[in-house]
Amino acid sequence: MIKFIQTADIHLGLEPDKGSPWSEKRKKDIFRSFVNVVEQVKKEQADLLLIPGDLFHRQPLKRELKEVSSLFAEVAPAHVVLIAGNHDYLHPRSYYRNFPWPENVHMLMDEQLGKIRLPDLDTTVWGCSFWKPEDGRRIYRRERIREPGLHILLGHGGDEKHHPFSTEEIREAGYDYAAFGHIHRPGQLVPDRIVMSGALEPTDCNDFGPHGYWSGTLSKGGCRVQFHSVKNCEYKKREIPVTPKMGSYQILEQTKEALADREPWEISHVIFTGRRDSEVELPIEEAGQLQRVVKLLDKTQPDYQYDKLKEEHKGTLLELFIREMESREDSRLNEEALYYGVHAILEAMER
């Protein structure tokens, strides 16, 4: 039985939410979290650290590689197996290409599916690296493995432009376990069998939900995996229900209240929903200045009841305009145009 730890899409070197006050901290947090995961290998006496791609956000610099290399050296005799993802792909001048890794580190650099045999673990790790940022080949489809020992696949991708695959393909190939990277939301595609690592930390403000790394045990008898969440940062959506009775000040107060009980690691998207008085301007700017708010979204509908307006203003330009806009396809653009038009018409009526 072997013990492994799996983490992908660490995106070292990335500064998330560039321009925000927490950007620098997040960059450091990402590195810190990665160090923690590597240290975890030693603590748990794991045999294997699997990194299925995108360890770096861009082409790694030499000193960056030296940094992680020395980290990896620390966990010997545990093996570290990694591949290059679409972000840190093997550029012709990439330092990956001839970096002298320590003995316990194995990078599967082939563009075709290759393997590395780890005799001490009686395990073969399969995988390949990206040589360009996009690669739509179905690279993981293959005939069934018949060789003895444990077989692990390190894969990166899952969408059309990045090594697409289906769980059936992976299953049929006969891997004992497949560790994937690329999609940032962690999840077990096939329980205890095919696991999308998910980003170690959210890298983009749209990476909602928990993030972290996986640990597991693998033997011919099967595999068991477990998710460990890392709580340095979590993006969450906060809906602020607005009613036509609320003024700008009240809406802001409501927002503050909703954000008061947040976990310290939360960074919020504030989404205004419901109906607002058409005269009231949402406190977008003020709410944007609240702490740890990364995005503001106005999903409120101005409190126009179009059906009622049509009835009240029968035979007028207003009715005509509403009808015209409603006959158009349902799109955000038309919806907004309807609102602007109605607002302007009503404004232009002398009362």
């Binding site: 990439s94 330009l317 015209e324 602007y340 607002h343 232009a348 002398e350």
Partner: protein, 539 residues
């Protein structure tokens, strides 16, 4: 609206008269000076008020015309009318110093306020001018006033929305334009910010590019230098072994030379000198000959010795020279070897330097590529910017659609007005004229066989008929909320019987209350003949 009863206390020649009206057609018959026009003016004044005007115009002012001569302050009347299923009592004092009006709901006796616009509201917001130019036809008037054209133009470009106010298209469009500008400005700001970041990165990229170029230059230099040293070493390596070989052969030849140093002359001379003794003894040569031979042989030996000595001396010099040359060569060789070592060392250090440069170069190139990638991320607008762009687009779209719809509506109104005028005129003239249109510049035009003419081109009666059609159609357009009564004072005086019949028939089909003021019995007779219900009022 239906006027039920007029109670005239004092208004022009009319005094203490109560007149009841019916819904539908009322023919008010009266001989000249019976007060038909006065009654019409009274009704209009009751509905819309009447003010004493000052100045030049005051002479033609109805106030002056109908002001009671004897009791100017008793200038009073009242009206009973029904609208929206409710009956109202309206009382006015026209006397300019006590101008007052009272409006009461007769059922619950609720007092309404004329000042506050309650009456105006009951009249559907219609202005006196609009009424006078349409449904209220005065005897002396030919065509409607210029006001009507303006009112129609306004009406066409304004889109009365609720009846409780007028809507100005231009204002709505301006508001949308402002909105567009506002969002566009915000978006431009974001774009500029993005552009700034992009430029910052471009500068970094440029700097890295420059550094890369410098490093490449340095690398080239180092490589050229290396090439030079390499050549140098190569040259020395080729030259040294050759020298050594030629030296070896020289040494060998020197050895051979050493062996052959005995001159044969000396040997021959000495041998012959000794042999000569033997020959003298054996051959018993004469002493003279022997001596001669002996001398020759001695000379040969001496010559040989001299020659040998001379050569030996030369050889010695040569040997010294060669030795010197060899030493020189050795020195040079040692020097060259030392030089080659230096060159090798130099080459080595150059190689190291070049490798270091290459490494920095690679590092910088990777950095540059990362920056290029990062820069590329700023090429496309962010979500916030896109949202603003959409907002701008939405405002623009709304503006366009609103403009188009309004244009369409305007055309529709034009069409409707022309259609109605045409149909009324066609009705009156028995289909002779069936195409009237309102031209923006020329005013009302009667179209016959594709050419349009002014109403003035026709007979007095036809002209009146064209204008009548225009007034009624315009009235329908301007007076929509509340069907106000038609007040027609001798409006058909020029009509022949046929056309009078036609117009009365047309009036019979209208929902409004109709008051026809006339001095003839003809109208009544025709109505009776045509079986159209009407009430007759005699003044």
């Amino acid at each position: 609206m239906i006027i039920k009863e007029a109670d005239i206390k004092k208004f022009g020649g009319l005094e203490n008269r109560k007149i009841q009206f019916s819904p539908g057609i009322n023919v008010i018959y009266g001989e000249n000076e019976k007060g038909k026009t006065t009654l019409q003016q009274f009704l209009k004044a009751m509905l819309f008020g009447m003010e004493k005007k000052r100045g030049k115009m005051s002479a033609s002012n109805p106030y002056m015309k109908y002001e009671p001569w004897d009791t100017p302050s008793y200038f009073v009347g009242s009206l009973l009318f029904e609208t929206g299923g409710k009956e109202f009592y309206l009382e006015r004092n026209f006397y300019h110093k006590e101008n007052s009006a009272r409006l009461v709901n007769t059922k619950d006796l609720e007092e309404l306020s004329v000042e506050q616009g309650d009456l105006q509201m009951l009249l559907g917001g219609v202005s006196a001018a609009a009424y006078e130019n349409t449904f209220c036809v005065f005897q002396e008037q030919k065509g409607p006033g210029k006001d009507l054209y303006e009112m129609i133009r306004d009406e066409k470009s304004n889109f009365s929305a609720t009846g409780d106010g007028s809507f100005q298209l231009s204002r709505a469009l301006a508001l949308l334009g402002e909105e567009q500008k506002k969002t566009e400005k915000k978006q431009k700001e974001l774009e500029q910010e993005r552009e700034k970041k992009r430029k910052e990165l471009a500068v970094k990229e440029e700097m890295l590019g420059e550094e890369i170029r410098q490093q490449q230059g340095k690398l080239c230099e180092k490589k050229a230098e290396m090439e030079l040293w390499r050549k140098n070493i190569l040259e020395k390596k080729v030259v040294l072994p050759e020298r050594r070989q030629s030296e070896d052969t020289e040494q060998e030849s020197g050895m051979l030379h050493e062996k052959r140093q005995w001159n044969p002359l000396i040997v021959a001379g000495i041998v012959c000198f000794l042999l000569n003794h033997l020959l003298r003894d054996m051959l018993k040569l004469p002493t003279g000959v022997w001596f001669l031979f002996q001398c020759v042989f001695a000379l040969m030996a001496v010559w040989g010795i001299v020659m040998t000595a001379r050569r030996k001396h030369g050889e010695q010099a040569e040997r010294i020279r060669k030795e010197q040359a060899r030493q020189e060569e050795n020195r040079r060789k040692a020097q060259a070897e030392a030089g080659a070592d230096d060159a090798r060392a130099n080459l080595q250090s150059l190689k190291g330097a070049a490798a270091a440069i290459e490494e920095t170069l690679q590092e910088k190139e990777i950095q540059r590529e990362n920056i290029q990638q990062q820069k590329g991320e700023y090429d496309q607008p962010g979500t916030e910017e896109k949202e603003l762009m959409q907002k701008t687009e939405a405002a623009r779209l709304a503006c366009g659609i609103l403009g188009n719809l309004a244009g369409g509506l305007r055309d529709e109104k034009d069409d409707l007005l022309n259609e109605q005028m045409s149909s009324i005129l066609s009705c009156i003239t028995g289909g002779k004229y069936d195409h009237v249109l309102l031209d923006e510049k020329k005013g009302v035009q009667n179209v016959v066989r594709m050419s349009s003419r002014n109403p003035e081109c026709y007979s007095e009666a036809t002209m009146q008929q064209i204008y009548f059609a225009f007034r009624m159609a315009a009235g329908r357009m301007l007076i929509r909320e509340e069907p106000l009564p038609f007040l027609l004072d001798e409006a058909f005086s020029g009509y022949d019987e046929k056309r009078l019949t036609n117009v009365l028939k047309w009036l019979g089909g209208e929902e409004n209350q109709i008051l026809i003021f006339t001095c003839r019995h003809l109208e009544g007779e025709i109505l009776r003949k045509e079986g159209i219900a009407f009430s007759e009022i005699r003044l």
